[in-house]
Assembly symmetry: C2
Homo-oligomer: 326 residues x 2
């Protein structure tokens, strides 16, 4: 099974992620071959497997090297992530995902609705299988609810040109940071880390997630489709005003009003003007700086963890995410 | 809160269902007011609350009158049902549900996707809250997966004029009977019934569910929209060939081929011809008879349960469902 090249440098974690992918592939194998194939293809399309990776890395800080059901839990995090991606692509009418046609574009919205629902049941099933060893049910249920509330917040703020930085940060906290936080925290809980390490892991996960989403939103304006492996500037076309635009609007609201007030997809030319204005009014620079800030804070906290080899990987990985181009 | 008139005759269970509805309403109250209102309205739109009712009735057969978390579990069953209904309405492009515009028709498919997803998280959360008293997680996870596989089966068989009775029965087993079975079984498990009663409850739930779905499919052809409170003959228009049609096609496949081979929505006139042919080739009669058969089998099993007042309610309720007009 193909694993993202990001992990070539780390053979131990690479091996663990291959185990995780095997569990994922097996968990979605059902009598409906079309669905099974669609999901197998989706899982092999080059996701970075960041959430299981953070979970696995954090399990290393525990006293007891628990193995049983570790990969089930790692897999459950990626499966939940996949379910939300597939449903988000319906909402966003997104043609591409990870350089490939999205499930909704290939199979239609109907299959995409059920594919996401099916993954929710698989997620739930993996967690229930592991619950004999370690019950993460309540933790996951609470987090999953927060993720959905974050998605709803985002939808509520669509086409709202008065959206504030605070509102943006609140909804990405739910939409993205919550699952990173859960992944790290579940790792320390599962492996029986000290209370102190558990609290630290939550904070680290939260900040990594915030940095990750902000940079995602920066790349949406500054990257090209070739590099990003998904369509660029899709967000603004469907009324999701993200941080670079919000910062730029704070500096000069009038520069954006004529482009945004019609609430219709912008032309090629208008998009270029929009990006030019976002740059001119420091939207990209300010957003990048905030992503850096969250990353630095996360790194400071990671350095408070016990000095084991995985700590170095956590540092390198978290730094690499800030420098990523897709 | 309004409760379906079906329960007027049974004040005890009516009171318990009101408690269940309160839990449901509270569980979906979040900061997103639009979503909260949409779901409150949906819950008050006159569903029969059959799944929580069967669960609650079956808890009466236990030795220990457990109360804690009982209504959470009852609510979780109806919430899961609601989640699948809302997503089904997206797939079916359904304008009406319970006499009211469906969520997807009122708020759009986007909101409907998230509304269903949100209900999955609420379901999961209610189960996790109850898991201190009684862990139904693994049971629910397994069942939920089967429900989804049933929905996928149905989608796979769309527009398949060679669909067999056996294939139909297999997919309604997943799609509908599974949740009735879970509701009854969870009731006996929760209240600590004997192994014998637990097994019986599964069988009863399964048969009630089969009868219920078959009759639903009969009513789709034989009722009017005024009585059914949802659009009639919607299934055939989207290629879901249900039991009355399958039985009729078994008798005379040629009578239906010209109507179905185009795979496009039928005109008013064609629909009338279709129904006439279904009647002519005994589709409605045979399907009704099979629903009666499942009901009779369920009643036989119910009569094997201990003779407490709730047994009488189970009998009356199960008989009433067979005679229902919507």
């Amino acid at each position: 099974m193909a694993i993202h090249s990001l992990w070539n440098k780390y053979p131990t974690i690479q091996k663990e992620l291959i185990e995780t992918q095997k569990i994922m592939a097996k968990a979605v194998t059902i009598r409906n071959k079309e669905m099974t194939n669609a999901l197998h293809l989706f899982f092999q399309s080059g996701g970075k497997l960041l959430r299981p990776a953070y979970f696995l890395l954090f399990t290393s800080f525990g006293k007891t090297p628990v193995q049983k059901h570790k990969y089930q839990l790692a897999a459950s995090l990626e499966i939940l992530h996949a379910a939300t991606l597939i449903h988000d692509d319906i909402i966003d009418n997104s043609p591409l995902r990870r350089d490939m046609p999205s499930i909704q574009a290939t199979y239609g919205k109907d299959i995409a609705v059920y594919a996401g629902d099916f993954l929710f049941t698989v997620y739930f099933h993996l967690l229930s299988q592991a619950s004999g060893t370690f019950s993460a049910i309540e933790l996951n249920a609470t987090n999953m609810k927060k993720i959905l509330v974050g998605e709803l917040d985002q939808m509520n703020l669509r086409y709202n040109t008065d959206i504030t930085v605070k509102q943006y940060l609140q909804h990405i906290k739910g939409k993205t940071a919550q699952l990173f936080q859960l992944s790290c925290y579940e790792g320390t809980q599962f492996s029986g880390c000290s209370k102190m390490t558990q609290i630290l892991s939550q904070q680290i996960g939260y900040r990594i997630g915030m940095a990750f989403q902000i940079l995602d939103d920066v790349l949406d304006y500054s990257s090209s489709e070739d590099i990003l492996h998904k369509p660029v500037m899709e967000d603004v076309q469907i009324g999701n005003y993200t941080l670079p635009l919000i910062f730029a609007m704070e500096e000069n609201r009038e520069a954006f009003a004529p482009l945004l007030k019609r609430r219709v997809p912008l032309t090629e030319e208008e998009l270029l003007l929009l990006v030019a204005n976002i740059k001119k009014y420091h939207g990209l620079a300010k957003a990048t700086k905030l992503a850096e800030h969250y990353t630095q804070k996360a790194l400071q906290d990671i350095k408070k963890l016990p000095d084991i080899p995985e700590r170095k990987i956590l540092i390198e990985l978290t730094e690499a995410l800030l420098l990523r181009k897709n």
